[in-house]
Point group: C2
Chain length 197, copies 2
DNA sequence: GGTCCAACTGACACTCGTGTCAGATTTTCG
DNA sequence: CGAAAATCTGACACGAGTGTCAGTTGGACC
């Protein structure tokens, strides 16, 4: 087994251990035991427990970041709605593709370390900014509801999405992928009330 | 200082320490130092660090639970909308009234302990069930949007609210209480899109 | 002022996870 | 093969935080 393989093996087992027990309840011993290597081997590949965790989350954040594209409301070939749907769909795909890591990120990544918290907050802040800008643009075009600050709209929509992901990953919410995309799209568009068109 | 006072004093300082550093980064020493008592004193009042934390969160969950009332869509004296608004308003009040504890609950209460996680999940599950039932009822009455499963609607609305609370408590989201109630009400009712009435 | 008791103290012993490193093992290659 | 390099091993020393308890403090009551 070459270096890259061993490293990947450790990452995978670390991920599973973290997903099962949470970061704080997991020890380096748990990880090396799962991977059937000795304690020392772990430290040949990673600085410490935190470093593996960070690498797992960084990779996932990168994938997530790639999957989110800015919505162009003026693109004649794709409606705003379909662009939004595609974003939802892609994020959902990344999440479902690696539930274990998604779980780490969504529910177990808080309070690891001040520096790490800042990184998460920053990713999250960028998402909020992106949404805020989109909504501001949308409002100028007259397609976004009047009233609430766009920053609040950004927080609420992100919250709705995030909670869906948490339920999926944490409690195996039983719903098809398309059903979830559909539900979120409708919810974001029209809210809870039946519209009397 | 009598026993009840000392206990309360320890609770208060524990809350502040937890809110500032998070559960895992806080030590019993941090708490007793903040409260200007010796290490041993702490153990006269609490089993261990976890017990204080649990008591803080339990109290807060109880207050939260009290503040949420089931919506009666058939009540002739109060519209559904005003009942929902009142619920939002009360939860917001409880949260703003004790931001430090709210922060513990909203962002720092995960991964403390399996038993504790279950307690949180259970509270959260009850909320979801309550919402789900309300939406099912609302749908029968023809006032809730068709399509998405009510369970998904429940998750998304709770997520939107929760995220607002997190932002308020964690990042001092600048918005008046009324503005937030208003924003969430509108978002839940109509979603993001401008309605062309 | 003395005695008693409740409340408090903090040094101590202990546990648990950490990170290391000298030696063992395996692989590579002449 | 055999030597050198690469990789792995796990016993060990260490530190941080925990929970305890014998001893101290202080104030209530006679």
């Amino acid at each position: 087994m070459d270096k890259a393989e061993r490293r990947q093996q450790l990452l995978t087992h670390a991920r599973d251990v973290f997903a099962k027990q949470g970061f704080h309840a997991s020890t380096v011993d748990d990880i090396v035991h799962a991977a059937h290597v000795a304690r020392g081997t772990f430290y040949l590949y990673f600085e410490d427990k935190r470093a593996v965790f960070e690498e797992l989350v960084d990779r996932f954040l990168a994938k997530l970041g790639m999957s989110i594209l800015r919505v162009d409301p003026l693109d004649p070939s794709r409606s705003v709605e379909s662009q939004v749907r595609e974003n939802i769909s892609r994020v959902l795909e990344v999440t479902l593709d690696d539930r274990a890591t998604a779980k780490l990120l969504l529910t177990g990544a808080q309070g690891i370390d001040p520096a790490f918290d800042r990184k998460l907050a920053s990713f999250y802040g960028e998402l909020l900014t992106l949404l805020d800008e989109s909504y501001t643009e949308g409002r100028e075009l007259g397609i976004i509801v009047d009233g609430p600050k766009t920053s609040l709209l950004a927080v609420m929509s992100l919250g709705a999405f995030r909670e869906l992901l948490i339920q999926i990953v944490d409690r195996d919410l039983d719903a098809e992928r398309d059903e979830i995309v559909e539900a979120l799209s409708i919810f974001l568009k029209h809210g809870l009330l039946k519209s009397f068109a």
